[in-house]
């Protein structure tokens, strides 16, 4: 593994910056996301040549052209399948999948759930701006119900996917949610996701300045975000609010927002976030929390370290190589039922 190699030359974010022009719209959230990724890569202990970015189609999927690594700009929806082939064929590579809400949740939904189910060690970044940008403004599977877009002039009548809910349902071991306005939050989630062995899935709530501007303002605006979001940290109490006086408690089988010190609730009652447990019940509820009843959960919501596809495959490989006396084609072709005339 590259991470075991002590001779990795020192690298910085400059090693990943491209000279060519970046063609996202001015003010697009993708710039900040790219910057976060470039800041995280030098910290991973991998050689710059061992990093590989794979994407599908859409605005976000232009990402590989704007980062100086090996990169594969694939087909619409198919990045997960291409990335799976890259990682399975060469497990030494540090593989990232960049995708958008149309690419990942609509045309690529099938590959997405299967990548998570298999738990291949790939870092998936979903740039979720809740709109089709590259095709100029149609609703996506994450567009809130009722939204008026070019293809829903009377408002959408479809329920929106909650990507975290879908991911955990598909067996994801790692799920984080961040906003494109918070560098620290992004870098922390990207780093933890990259260190996680197995598939990691991070949803980035991204602003599209052209077709869905301020879609996330309710949670990213300075005066709103503290009361409208909760930043979950492993081992820490689930508290939030500009006064840090609100918390999440369990009320029967449901989550509930309480004010600490009111209605008999004390700090003792507030839940402590355990991202690493195998059981998905609480992670699922946290991922589902929606405004206005609840704050939107941000940070690493689930980080359960199981066994990755890569490790299991390698183990089967090593066993097969060790146990079979047949190592070459000549041996194979002359084994078993051979008739000699």
């Amino acid at each position: 593994m590259a991470t075991d190699n002590l001779n990795i030359p020192e690298i910085t974010k400059k090693d990943f910056q491209v000279d060519n022009e970046i063609k996202w719209c001015a003010g697009c959230g993708s710039f900040a996301i790219l910057n976060s990724v470039i800041n995280v890569l030098p910290k991973l202990g991998v050689k710059k040549e061992d990093v590989c970015f794979v994407s599908g189609i859409g605005c976000s999927s232009r990402f590989p052209y704007y980062i100086k690594t090996y990169g594969f700009h694939g087909l619409h929806g198919r990045a997960a399948a291409i990335a799976s082939g890259v990682k399975v064929a060469n497990p030494n590579l540090n593989v990232w999948q960049i995708t958008g809400d149309g690419d990942c949740m609509a045309i690529g939904g099938n590959h997405f759930i299967h990548l998570l189910r298999r738990n291949i060690n790939i870092n998936i970044l979903l740039l979720n701006n809740k709109i089709y940008g590259l095709t100029k403004g149609q609703y996506s599977p994450t567009t809130p119900k009722g939204s008026k877009t070019k293809t829903s002039p009377d408002g959408t009548i479809e329920e929106a996917f909650k990507p975290g809910e879908l991911a955990i349902g598909a067996g994801a071991h790692f799920f984080a949610r961040v906003t494109d306005t918070d560098q620290k939050l992004m870098q922390d989630a990207f780093y933890q996701g990259a260190m996680h062995k197995g598939a990691s899935f991070t949803e980035i709530l991204e602003n599209c300045v052209i077709f869905n501007n301020a879609a996330h303002a309710d949670i990213t605006e300075k005066d709103l975000k503290d009361d409208h979001t909760i930043y979950l940290q492993h081992g820490e109490k689930m508290i939030f609010g500009s006064e840090r006086d609100k918390g999440l408690v369990l009320d029967g089988l449901k989550l509930k927002v309480v004010k600490i010190g009111e209605d008999g609730y004390t700090m003792e009652d507030v839940l402590v976030h355990d991202a690493t447990c195998e059981d998905t019940t609480l992670h699922y509820m946290l991922a589902r929390m929606a405004r206005p009843e609840f704050p939107l959960a941000l940070g690493v919501i689930r980080n359960y370290q199981g066994t990755s596809y890569d490790e299991l495959l390698q183990a089967q490989f090593d066993d097969a190589r060790k146990n079979s006396p047949i190592k070459t084609m000549d041996q194979l072709m002359n084994s078993g039922a051979v008739f000699e005339n």
């Binding site: 060519n20 050689k47 710059k48 040549e49 061992d50 990093v51 590989c52 794979v54 189609i57 590989p64 052209y65 100086k68 690594t69 090996y70 990169g71 594969f72 700009h73 694939g74 087909l75 198919r78 997960a80 399948a81 291409i82 990335a83 799976s84 082939g85 890259v86 990682k87 399975v88 064929a89 060469n90 030494n92 590579l93 099938n110 590959h111 299967h114 495959l313 089967q316 490989f317 066993d319 097969a320 190589r321 146990n323 079979s324 047949i326 190592k327 070459t328 084609m329 000549d330 194979l332 072709m333 002359n334 078993g336 039922a337 051979v338 008739f339 000699e340 005339n341």
Partner: protein, 616 residues
């Protein structure tokens, strides 16, 4: 029981068909008989005939499973037109197979299953044993079920297990009929049931009982002897087309010193390729059973990007789903082998039946100008050679290659002379050199037009590939009009230059005969048999057969120009004939097409050729 006196007749070749309910073990019986024939030194070809349903209702025609084996003293090219011996375990098996039996053939039936109830299930309105329809055939009415049960009466086995050994009784009959030693079958059973000693004894006892029964009854007075082949010396194994494809890919990977990756989704009749390679982790083979056909090929493209030999296997409907991704491999100019085991179509079509109707799809079934190399194997065993060559072309020329086989080649088997790896051609992979300051992703070898393969992990060569049009040399995204035209020509020309590395067309027979028979792919054996027969009869006929379709062999027009009449035979409505018309329009192509989900019969080809020869 006392032994009768029998006479032995020497035969050049014989076709035997085993047929029964899909649970009757006919595939196993057929394989056992084939293996024994191989040990006896015969050339052979086999073809299993499965129903599309796994266990259709017992006793119905839909549930009949068959296995045909053609064995001979001389070269055997096909699994045979019509059977000399039919084993029919029930009336449905008889009903389904009577039209594939030679006049006067020996028909062995399990008389215990021939009653009014079974006739009805099989769709007979009259008793076939009494209505005269079997007049002229040598019908052996063997009480197979009763004698099997009697043979195992002293063993403590339940009736279901006992009845499952009936196939060995039938096999015993055949062993006697063809003067076979029982040892090979005994060894086979001992291996197959090695953890179940009871079943070894039971099956061996029933096999022997069948053999002795045949020795005793009056209906079988003659046994047959087929002398061993004299011209095939060396080591052989019986191999199916699907296994040969899998091994050909593995051989290419070993030759190129690369790992092999197969990304695939199960589909009839291609699944055995995925299954065979799944067993080969010890040979540096990785298989990825994807969630769908698209993921199958996309994972293979991803794997190819990392520098392994990558392949995907499928059948017609799957090839349709892979179309967009094949275009991606064309655009990224990565090596990829796409194996398409053709079946009857369109849509789900005839999943278990062979056809050659994906040719146009392979050539043109994609968006944009999307040239790939298209080739076709023509016998179960040469699936190995063409899978090897498909890999060599893909790797050396950095190009996707579609290898066409079909359900007939895939499931059929024949004796294959085991090659030595040292005799297979070298594969030189155009890897880039790490830290090469002159590396450019789309710089081409001036001779082959192949670009270099720089793979993740190589220092100093980080670059991006993708489905957007790429600028010549640099590989940057380009929407430039002139560049697109230039790159379109490069991609086409790169495929055309593969003609430099493939063999020229050869002609079998008189280079200036009255009629040239043209075929491609899986029809080779039947066409060759028909042409050989007619040549023996003194007819002025020659044949040529295509394994390389895009590009065509360089001397194609030259070969065609020598003949007044050209007939193109194929199992579709004329796709190759139309392709030839587009490539070499100066010739007149007569068509002979059959699209019944069945291979050509030798006799029907002969009839057609004679008719064409007689026309002015």
């Amino acid at each position: 029981m006392k032994k009768k006196s029998t006479k032995v007749v020497q035969l050049e070749e014989v076709v035997v068909k085993f047929a029964g309910d899909s649970g009757d073990g006919m595939q196993l019986t057929g394989s056992q008989f084939s293996d024994t024939s191989a040990v006896a030194g015969h050339d052979l070809a086999t073809f299993p005939d499965y129903p599309a349903e796994i266990r259709a209702p017992q006793g119905t025609v839909a549930g009949v499973s068959g296995f045909q084996v053609h064995i001979g003293h001389k070269d055997v090219h096909t699994s045979g037109d019509l059977a000399d011996v039919l084993v029919a375990m029930n009336p449905a098996a008889l009903m389904a197979n009577m039209r594939w039996v030679k006049p006067g053939a020996t028909i062995i039936i399990d008389i215990d299953n021939f009653d009014n109830k079974s006739y009805k299930k099989a769709g007979y309105t009259e008793d076939p044993l009494g209505d005269g329809s079997l007049e002229g055939y040598n019908v052996v009415k063997a009480p197979i079920t009763a004698l099997t049960r009697a043979t195992l009466a002293d063993m403590d086995l339940n009736i279901k297990t006992v009845d499952k050994t009936k196939n060995q009784f039938a096999l015993g009959l055949l062993y006697w009929l063809f003067n076979r030693e029982l040892d090979v079958a005994f060894d086979f059973l001992a291996k197959k049931f090695k953890d179940k000693p009871d079943l070894i004894i039971a099956n061996q006892k029933v096999l022997k009982a069948g053999y002795h029964y045949a020795e005793t009854i009056e209906a079988l007075e003659t046994t047959y002897y087929i002398p061993p082949t004299s011209d095939k010396k060396g080591k052989f194994r019986n191999i199916t087309g699907n296994q040969a494809v899998a091994w050909g890919l593995m051989a290419a990977a070993e030759k190129a010193n690369l790992d092999l990756f197969l990304g695939s989704y199960p589909i009839t009749p291609a699944s055995e390729i995925l299954q065979e390679l799944s067993k080969r982790k010890h040979m540096r083979v990785k298989t990825f059973q994807a969630e769908d056909e698209i993921a199958g090929i996309c994972s293979a493209i991803g794997a190819s990007y990392t520098g392994v030999l990558a392949a995907t296997s499928t059948s017609g409907p799957g090839l349709a789903l892979k179309g967009e991704a094949i275009g991606l491999a064309v655009m990224t100019e990565l090596p990829l082998v796409i194996v398409n085991v053709q079946r009857g179509g369109p849509a789900t079509g005839l999943p278990t039946k062979p056809e050659q109707s994906d040719l146009m799809q392979a050539l043109y079934g994609r968006n944009g100008e999307s040239p790939v190399v298209v080739m076709a194997a023509s016998s179960p065993a040469n699936c190995f050679d063409y899978a090897f060559m498909a890999s060599k072309i893909a790797l050396e020329r950095m190009v996707p290659v579609i290898l066409l086989t079909d359900g007939y080649l895939a499931n059929g088997s024949e004796l294959w002379p085991v090659p030595a790896m040292k005799d297979l051609p070298e594969i030189k992979v155009p890897f880039a050199t790490p830290n090469d300051p002159d590396y450019q992703p789309y710089k081409r070898d001036p001779k082959t037009l192949a670009r270099q393969w720089a793979i993740p992990g190589m220092e100093g060569l980080r670059h991006r590939v993708g489905g957007l049009e790429k600028a010549d040399i640099t590989g940057e995204v380009s929407h430039n009009a002139i560049n697109h035209e230039k790159m379109s020509h490069y991609r086409e020309e790169k495929v055309q230059r593969v003609a430099d590395m493939i063999p020229e067309l050869t002609v079998y027979g008189d280079p200036e005969a009255d009629l040239l028979v043209v075929g491609w792919g899986g029809t080779h054996g039947a066409i060759l048999s028909a042409v050989e027969d007619l040549q023996d009869d003194g007819k002025s006929i020659a044949m040529t057969h295509f394994n390389y379709i895009k590009p065509l062999p360089k001397n194609t027009a030259e070969v065609f120009s020598k003949y007044k009449k050209i007939v193109v035979c194929e199992n579709n409505l004329g796709q190759f004939a139309n392709y030839l018309r587009s490539q070499h329009p100066q010739f007149n192509y007569i068509q002979f097409n059959k699209i019944q989900g069945l291979p050509f019969m030798v006799f029907e080809l002969k009839e057609k050729f004679i008719q064409i020869l007689q026309e002015n």
